[in-house]
């Protein structure tokens, strides 16, 4: 819990903050960035390779076509496979807890080696728990190590939550036949509604470096708040789930991550510590002064999943902000002019219900005179999430 020492003292009432763009044009240094933990607990080991870019660049420069392998001290090597661009993986690596291992990478014809590192003991997560306060919901992780070995932890998480559209429509733009004409979902049964775009799932990952240490505590027990969700927010509108992963580090590895966190997340107060260089445990034997960012560690990655149902949160009061637009004329010219983005392919509203039909001519051949519509993402949840139900979803 070193962060208690960080002064977030506010001259906030006096200070003022403006966007700043450095006038310095930095070169593209292209240092190798190695991220990942060797999983000694069975499961998947993923090492992601990328390169540093200019400060002004906005994309991640992945490193593809590299050779990545885990080596033990006896010369045995286990090669990882590039399963996605820059992501190198291996399953069920057989790690001997009494051995030391290192990572060997050959990227862009240059060899990089990490130091040999031992296996860190990583106790199972006791619980991922939530609590509710007036300002929202908080998710924390609780761990203790009965053996009092693990002292330095890092966590990350993936949140997944179910979302519902506000309405299931009974009419639609007749894409691809006639994208500017609204017709029934089912011309035989005009009252039928389309629920295929009603239930979706969204997910997000942790973006902050989440660290915690028990070094200041008398007992090897830690409780760390990981997630804050504001009251009434979408993730808890139906069902929410978070999967927390826990890594155990050595002191050096922890300090490496802490430096990175200080450099990139904890600046902007009046009493900032100075940003510092990062030195991990990966080197280029042919060019020892070359900077390689990353610190290779080995531990059994611990995971724990939590579900929270909206019903457990009375008065959550999620408000999608969706509303209905009454009596949109079903007219091709009108639709072309008023309802589509300039690309002429994507409508920004979608029909919800027909309102007035041609009375003399019922479906299937009859047409809709006007209809009630809403914002596209209020009708089609796939615009906000995926329609594929996650495997773990109940």
């Amino acid at each position: 819990m070193k962060k208690i020492f960080i002064i977030i003292f506010a001259f906030i009432f006096l200070t003022c903050r403006e966007a700043y763009i450095s006038p310095v044009n930095t070169p593209n240094l292209g240092y190798l960035v190695v991220e990942g933990v060797i999983n000694s607990g069975g499961g998947n080991t993923k090492i992601a390779l990328s390169r540093t870019t200019k400060l002004s660049d906005g994309t991640r420069a992945v490193e593809t076509g590299a050779t990545v392998m885990v080596q033990d001290e006896n010369g045995n090597a286990y090669t990882l496979v590039e399963v996605a661009r820059g992501d190198y993986e291996i399953n069920n690596l057989n790690v001997d807890p009494n051995q030391k291992y290192r990572l060997r990478i050959v990227a862009n014809d240059r060899e990089y080696l990490s130091d040999f590192v031992g296996v860190n003991s990583n106790p199972a997560i006791d619980s991922v728990a939530w609590s509710r306060t007036s300002d929202g919901l908080h998710v924390s992780v609780n761990t203790h190590d009965p053996q009092q070995i693990a002292k330095y932890f890092m966590w990350d998480y993936i949140e997944t939550w179910e979302i519902h559209s506000d309405w299931a429509p009974n009419c639609k733009f007749d894409t691809p036949n006639d994208p500017y004409w609204v017709t029934y979902i089912d011309q035989v049964k005009p009252y039928l509604r389309d629920s295929s775009k009603y239930q979706c799932w969204r997910s997000d990952t942790s973006r902050q470096i989440l660290l915690g240490s028990t070094i200041k505590y008398a007992v090897d027990t830690i409780s760390e708040n990981l997630i804050d969700i504001a009251s009434g927010a979408e993730p808890l509108s139906v069902l929410y789930s978070v999967n927390v992963r826990q890594f155990a580090f050595t002191k050096d590895a922890y300090e490496f991550m802490e430096k990175m966190k200080k450099n990139s997340e904890q600046l902007g107060s009046v009493f900032d510590a100075q940003p510092t260089e990062l030195q991990g445990n990966i080197h280029s034997p042919s060019n020892p002064s070359e900077i390689v960012i990353g610190y290779v560690s080995i531990c059994a990655i611990q995971e724990k999943r939590l579900f929270i149902h909206n019903e457990e949160l009375p008065g959550w009061n999620y408000n999608s902000g969706c509303f209905l637009i009454q009596a949109v004329p079903n007219d091709r010219d009108y639709a072309v002019k008023n309802l589509y983005y300039p690309d002429r392919v994507t409508p920004f509203i979608l029909p919800v219900e027909y309102r007035d039909r041609n009375p003399s001519d019922p479906p299937p051949s009859g047409y809709i005179i006007n209809y009630v519509a809403s914002d596209a993402k209020c009708v089609d949840c796939s615009l906000r999430g995926t329609r594929v139900k996650p495997a773990f979803w109940p």
Partner: protein, 928 residues
């Protein structure tokens, strides 16, 4: 210290102030007389007999005249006219029936009242006394309260057997007639001999002169130039009370800069008095001593949230801040927004930045000597002020009239209203601070004075009832000044200083903690001054300082808390020094000051010291063990001679050149890796693993005054070396660190610069312009300490701001109304900017390389204020004044820092400004 020195009779202690005689004009009787070759004495005594008037003249000049005429029933004036016709004698008859006869100069008297004149002093018939009035030097004053400088004061006894020496020493105090406060820095000189001295901070002076008659000229800024006629028979004392110029009453204090900047061999000395400080516009209208010091050449600060001073490339911990000889470790309130020194009780501020007197030591860069006012010894008075954020009150007065006095001042804040204006998430924040000063002065007798100083400042801040920050200074000192004899004085000081801070949080009972730190020092000083003769003033003494430091404790703050108690073992050490210095006036033009200080430092047990092999980096892994030392055991001794030398050559009264060399050792270090001094900064004593810092400096200066010393200019250049200054390893953890030596590196530093100052001290328009060009670099190229910084090259220190220009101007439109303008420009300070980005932990991250390779945007600020004095009358119950102003007139958003953060996965750059707009303020002050 045997009392072998004969108590010298002190004659003519003048009752000067308010003896207003009600005078009735005397009319002389008509005179009938017959003078035949009469001497002046015969002539005068005949006239005295007939008129009852008393005559004064100088017998040494009167022997040239013989008077021959006879008269019958003539008025006195007619006789005198006739007697002196054709000669160069003049006369003057006043309303009291006193007649003054002068040769060569006509005098005028407009005083209507004088105090009675002791007969034995001036009676003309004693033969060897002289006429009293020589008004040519002192301007003719209409003020009834003018202290008469016109009498001859006998100094010493006329002991005919004691004729061995033809010289004698006159010494005494110069004091303000209204308040009894000492006047420091005033010049006491004898023009005809071209000799003089400057009073010290107690108003004391000692001057050795040939026996005989002299006119002492007492002068200085803001005081009425005054003379005293003395007849020096032997060693003796004279106390001089004089008036300050009635302009803004007590706000005016006395500086002798116009006299001393040319004549004083000291260089790099800046002195500002409180009235000048009060004219400088400041944020929220709080007159701020440290902000005024920052406006001087060679002094910089890293930003508006810091009162840390960077003097000539020094870090903030390299300044010794003394308030009446107590050491103030944290001179700021509100984490650096205001200085913690109440301007109402401060008399003046001296900053020594190049030749530091040998009596001071222990810090590399500078000594900031803040002198408090002494209480009014004559009557009770006080002042109160109301500002936007603080209120202040001070009261002073005599405890025993003319003998002892007290002064007490306090300030407190009510800034919470400002915090209530914050966005909701900060609404529960609370801030408070106060400071209290107490000063007691007591004159036991003419030879013994004691001074008691007490100081407390305290700050408390919490953000949303969660984490509470507190810090506080507590100081007390007792000073005894003893005058052994006219030539030899001693000052003995004992004191105790404490600085502490704590951070506590009880947001969750489970994690509740309290972190605390404190530093305590007991000190003793014995300082002696020996005025050997007019050419040599010798100072010597010893100082001892005992430190007891609690480097940190981290304790659970609730029953449920699982926080493991952690205490760093206390550190103790003794810093002692002996010094001697001589101020030698070789000729009137050439003078020198040479001093040697020898300091010794003992790091004392009980302590556990980590042992590291030599030649490899000090890391936890490299530690080969811990050595235990028992209580009182000396673990490590460091010692070093320190040289303080300066030389002055004055080409004439308005132009001089000075050079100095100065070396310093500092045994206590501020441990901070933040740019501004932070509330969590700790101090660390030198120990076997952390060496003391050493520095030396050579400087050269040119000083030229214009327009009868009202415009001063100076140009100083310096070069400074620093050794073993602490910088920090990347990602250093400095708090609650049981092996701090593993996180710090010793660096070498070099600093150089040129400083220019143009100062107008008087007149309607006054103020100064200071410009500094300076650089400061650090270097860490010793790979045995760990990874080298910036490839072992010199890199600019955090406070390296090459260009720095300050203009402070004050224009007095009339005695009641003045306006001030303050303009500052400086180069932005160095900063470490990211040179690239990468992705890690699902977010964009910044890549840093070399330290301090870039700079934040330049700094510019203009401030304006108006000072309105309520009423100009001297005699009224209260005096009030307003000061209204605007800080940061142009509303420029000056960068305090520039930084890049990873927010929601992407990197955003920001410029942080402390003040984002113009800040108006109003302040009301009342004196009673």
């Amino acid at each position: 210290m045997k009392k072998r020195f004969r108590l010298l009779t002190l004659l003519g202690i003048l009752c000067l102030n308010t003896c207003i005689a009600v005078a009735q004009k005397k009319t002389p009787a008509l005179i009938t007389a017959d003078f035949r070759n009469a001497s002046m004495e015969q002539f005068v005594s005949e006239l005295e007999k007939q008129t009852g008037f008393r005559f004064y003249f100088d017998p040494t000049t009167a022997d040239s005249i013989r008077i021959n005429f006879s008269i019958t029933s003539q008025p006195l004036e007619k006789i005198l006219d006739q007697a002196f016709a054709g000669s160069d004698f003049f006369y003057l008859v006043d309303d009291d029936g006193e007649v003054y006869i002068t040769k060569g100069k006509k005098i005028g008297i407009t005083t209507t009242a004088k105090s009675s004149v002791p007969n034995n002093l001036i009676k003309q018939t004693t033969g060897d006394t002289i006429i009293a009035r020589e008004k040519a030097k002192a301007p003719v004053l209409k003020n009834v309260q003018t202290a008469p400088p016109d009498k001859i004061i006998d100094i010493g006894t006329r002991n005919l057997s004691d004729q061995k020496s033809n010289k004698a020493t006159v010494a005494g105090f110069v004091k303000d007639i209204k308040t009894g406060e000492p006047v420091s820095g005033a010049s006491v000189s004898v023009e005809t001999l071209k000799t003089g001295v400057v009073t010290d901070q107690y108003g004391y002076f000692s001057l050795t002169l040939p026996k005989g008659r002299h006119v002492l000229l007492i002068e200085g800024i803001s005081i009425k130039e005054t003379t005293r006629q003395i007849m020096l028979h032997g060693d003796g004392k004279i106390n001089i009370e004089l008036e300050s110029l009635v302009m803004v009453l007590r706000n005016v204090t006395i500086t002798a800069q116009k006299l001393s900047n040319i004549r004083n061999p000291q260089m790099g000395l800046q002195k500002i008095d409180i009235s000048a400080i009060k004219q400088i516009p400041v944020v929220f209208g709080e007159p701020d001593i440290l902000r005024a010091v920052i406006a001087l050449p060679g002094v910089k600060t890293v930003g508006e949230a810091s009162t840390g001073l960077n003097v000539r490339g020094g870090s903030p911990d390299q300044n010794l801040i003394l308030f009446n000889d107590v050491t103030i470790y944290n001179p700021s309130h509100f984490f650096g927004m205001f200085s913690a020194l109440n301007p109402e009780i401060v008399k003046d501020v001296e900053l020594f930045k190049s030749s530091i007197p040998a009596r001071y030591g222990g810090r590399l860069s500078s000594v900031l000597n803040i002198t408090g006012r002494e209480g009014n010894k004559k009557e009770f008075s006080g002042s109160a002020g109301i500002g936007v954020l603080t209120s202040r009150l001070n009261i002073e007065g005599p405890l025993i009239k003319d003998k002892s006095s007290f002064i007490i001042g306090g300030r407190t804040t009510y800034a919470n209203w400002l915090l209530n204006l914050l966005p909701d998430q900060y609404k529960n924040s609370r801030a408070s601070f106060y400071d209290i000063n107490l000063g007691i002065t007591h004159e036991i007798n003419k030879k013994n004075n004691i001074y008691l100083t007490g100081y407390i400042s305290s700050d408390r801040f919490n953000l949303n009832n969660d984490t509470i920050y507190r810090y506080s200074n507590k100081n007390i000192s007792l000073k005894w000044k003893h005058i052994f004899n006219n030539k030899f004085t001693g000052i003995f000081i004992g004191g105790y200083d404490r600085y502490e801070y704590s951070i506590s949080s009880d947001q969750s009972a489970y994690n509740a903690y309290k972190l605390s730190f404190d530093i305590n020092q007991a000190n003793f000083k014995a300082l002696f001054t020996y005025y050997l003769n007019n050419k040599h003033t010798i100072e010597f003494g010893v100082t001892a300082l005992y430190y007891k430091l609690h480097p940190g404790s981290y304790l659970p703050d609730s029953k449920e808390s699982i926080v493991a108690p952690d205490r760093l073992s206390p550190e103790q050490s003794l810093e002692s020094a002996a010094f001697i210095s001589d101020r030698y006036t070789i000729t009137r033009k050439l003078s020198a000051e040479a001093g040697l200080r020898y300091s010794m430092y003992n790091y004392v047990g009980p302590q556990q010291v980590n042992i590291y092999p030599a030649g490899i980096p000090k890391t936890e892994e490299n530690s080969v063990g811990v050595k235990d030392y028992s209580s009182g055991k000396i673990i490590q001794t460091y010692s070093a001679p320190e040289i303080r030398a300066s030389l002055r050559y004055a080409f004439n009264d308005s132009f001089s050149i000075k050079a100095s060399y100065n070396s310093q050792t500092q045994y206590i270090h501020l441990i901070s890796n933040t740019t501004a001094m932070a509330p969590t900064d700790i101090w660390k004593l030198s120990d076997p693993n952390i060496k003391p810092q050493m520095g030396d400096q050579v400087s050269l200066g040119l000083y030229k005054n214009f327009k009868s010393n009202t415009i001063e200019t100076s140009l100083e250049v310096y070069y400074k070396r620093i050794k073993d200054y602490l910088d920090y390893k990347s990602g250093a953890e400095l708090i609650m660190n049981h092996h701090l030596e593993t996180d710090v590196v010793a660096t070498k530093g070099k600093a150089y610069g040129i400083e220019f100052l143009l100062k107008k001290t008087s007149g309607k328009l006054n103020g100064w312009i200071s410009y500094t060009w300076s650089r400061v670099f650090l270097k860490m190229d010793d790979s045995t300490q760990g990874s080298i910084v910036n490839k072992g090259q010199y890199y600019p220190a955090n406070y390296d701001k090459p260009n720095d220009l300050t203009v402070i101007g004050n224009y007095k439109i009339n005695h009641r109304f003045s306006v001030s303008l303050n303009v500052t420009y400086s180069t932005g300070r160095p900063i470490t900017l990211p040179i690239g980005r990468f992705y890690f932990s699902n977010g964009a991250r910044t890549l840093y390389a070399d330290r301090n390779a870039y700079r934040i945007p330049d700094y510019f600020r203009a401030d304006f204020s108006m000072n309105i004095e309520g009423n100009h009358k001297i005699y009224q119950k209260t005096h009030n004044s307003w000061s209204i102003g605007v800080y940061n007139l142009t509303g420029r958003k000056n960068a305090y820092s520039v930084y890049y953060v990873s927010e929601n996965g992407s990197i955003n750059g920001y410029k942080l400004s402390i003040f984002g707009s113009a800040i108006p303020y109003v302040n009301f002050n009342i004196r009673f």
